[in-house]
């Protein structure tokens, strides 16, 4: 069998010298699949992304991407990462197109001049998230949702085999949200693997092949959506505040899978 797209094995990390932010987390993602990452605020989703990317060095355990150490995979341009919130200067003198072009930079030559193929990929990525009309805007001149789409386009332009998306649905409207799920399904159809965190339990079923439940700083369970998204598991992941305790908040489809 070929190596998993992503293999997180028994990873523990801490911020600074403090208590563990992730305890013995294990998760594997096979090529061509979409895995939804769900859990309460502060459960450790973003921490898991940062650990996978090597921004937080694991105290224990290891992470591999397509059978390689992460740094090597990054150098090969295999991983695209879109953080939950971009930590950039929004007044920076770059246009949306410039930002999306940065997704291609790793594969450009010595002087990093975009080739015709790079420009085409950028154009296609912009179109894919309906940002073509905003391409020449300075990046600060966008709404919150448009900013998210611009950075998603950058990840698309990178044409990576593994995409790590930390809450791409946060703060985007319903139409955009549907567009993004469609986009992720297309990516998976073309063989890419996606790890995507979300708080929208209701849509998980529609586009995720797998679900990973994360709670209390570790991965509780991970597996095919239908088997994993059970009432019992959800109750464990969401504790006393389980959406199941509040019928008004239960997403219908999450209930159906019981």
């Amino acid at each position: 069998m070929s190596a998993p797209a992503l293999d997180v094995q028994g990873v523990s990390v801490a911020y600074g010298g403090g208590r563990l932010a992730l305890r013995n987390a294990t998760l594997a993602l096979q090529p061509g699949r979409i895995c939804g990452l769900v859990g309460m605020n502060g459960a450790g989703k973003s921490t898991l992304f940062k650990t996978i990317m090597g921004f937080l060095p694991p105290l224990r355990g290891q992470v591999q991407v397509f059978g390689e150490p992460v740094r090597q995979a990054q150098k090969a341009g295999v991983i695209a990462y879109v953080p939950q919130a971009e930590d950039v200067d929004w007044d920076f003198p770059v246009s949306v197109r410039d930002v999306v072009t940065m997704g291609r930079q790793g594969r450009m030559g010595l002087l990093r001049r975009p080739s015709a193929a790079d420009r085409d990929a950028v154009q296609a990525a912009l179109a894919r998230v309906s940002m073509t009309d905003f391409a020449e805007r300075q990046i600060g001149e966008l709404s919150g949702g448009q900013r998210k789409r611009a950075f998603l386009a950058r990840a698309l332009a990178q044409d990576a085999r593994l995409l790590l998306l930390d809450e791409p649905f946060g703060g985007v409207d319903v139409g955009t949200s549907e567009a993004i799920t469609g986009l992720l399904s297309d990516l998976a159809d073309s063989g890419r693997s996606v790890l995507v965190s979300t708080h929208d339990l209701g849509t998980l079923e529609t586009f995720c092949d797998d679900v990973a439940l994360i709670a209390d700083r570790t991965v509780l369970t991970v597996g095919p959506t239908a088997q994993t998204l059970t009432a019992g598991n959800l109750a464990r992941a969401f504790g006393g505040r389980s959406p199941l305790h509040d019928p008004a908040r239960i997403p219908e489809r999450a209930l159906e899978v019981r």
Partner: protein
């Protein structure tokens, strides 16, 4: 008329114009990165910290650029070392380190000799630049410029979004170090023209002016170079009539250009902003 053209008849003037415009161009290109990265204080720090290096180079009979460059590197390493090993904030560490090295330089000058012209080091003396110093300046400036131009896009990405730079496999540690080394080299090349105290102006003002004029980085670079070179030429020329203070004249010209951009820049200037606000309010009241 003849009086106005007179300066151009002198070799030393032509040399000064040439050197100062080269320095103006190199500093201007770098200033785009320094201002966007928020490293103005770092620029000020490195420029002051090279003083002991200049004095030492004089004592050991070495080219001044070498001494200055070495102390530039010592200062950034010391800053990085102390910062990573203490809870003191970065700007405080920078302040502590550069004032220490600058003071060390002053003490060395007062102890060693009256041959070292303190005022020339502090304020530059491009009108009196020797052939030897000219070459050192040109080489340091050319190497810095070449490095920036080659690394330009990676440096830009690093300054804008280091997380992404690392994600796509760039070596961000190298880019950080490269930017610091280029900073030190550029400062070294500007010493003869504007001196230790005013170098920082060359490293930030053209970038700041250009930033007010455009929202595109490539245009920002060209605009910065244009204001940098124009200021160097005008400032040097004017200083002929004042018989000195060339560095200060250059920096003053840059400041005037910044002031003009601050007021009159097409989109980000004060007047344009006010007009824009008024138009928006009126449109809203009408609608």
């Amino acid at each position: 008329m003849d009086a106005l053209l007179a300066p151009l008849g002198y070799d030393f003037m032509l040399r000064a114009l040439l050197v100062s415009s080269l320095v103006g161009a190199v500093c201007a290109v770098l200033s785009c990165f320094i201002t966007l990265k928020g490293w103005s204080l770092m620029g000020d720090a490195v420029s002051h910290a090279v003083l002991p290096g200049v004095v030492l180079a004089y004592l050991l009979n070495l080219p001044f650029v070498i001494g200055a460059f070495v102390f530039g590197l010592i200062s950034v390493s010391a800053i990085g070392f102390i910062q990573s090993r203490s809870r003191v904030k970065e700007d405080t560490v920078i302040g502590v380190v550069f004032t220490a090295l600058f003071s060390l330089g002053l003490v060395m000058i007062s102890r060693v000799s009256s041959d070292v012209h303190l005022s020339h080091i502090l304020f530059g003396d491009v009108l009196g630049i020797s052939q030897n110093e000219l070459w050192q300046t040109v080489v340091a400036g050319a190497v810095a410029l070449g490095a920036i131009l080659i690394l330009r896009r990676d440096l830009l990405l690093y300054v804008f979004d280091a997380t992404h730079a690392r994600s796509i496999g760039l070596n961000t540690g190298f880019l950080y170090a490269a930017l610091l080394v280029i900073l030190a080299l550029t400062i070294v090349s500007a010493l003869q023209t504007v001196g230790v105290i005013l170098v920082v102006a060359m490293l930030i003002t053209p970038g700041a002016t250009a930033y007010l004029l455009t929202d595109r980085f490539s245009r920002m670079m060209w605009l910065a170079v244009a204001t940098g070179v124009l200021s160097s030429l005008l400032g040097t020329y004017v200083s002929y009539f004042l018989d000195g203070a060339t560095g200060a004249c250059i920096v003053l010209t840059q400041s005037v250009l910044f002031g003009l951009a601050f007021l009159f820049a097409p989109k980000h200037g004060q007047l344009a902003r006010r007009r824009q606000q008024r138009l928006e309010r009126e449109a809203e009241l009408q609608g």
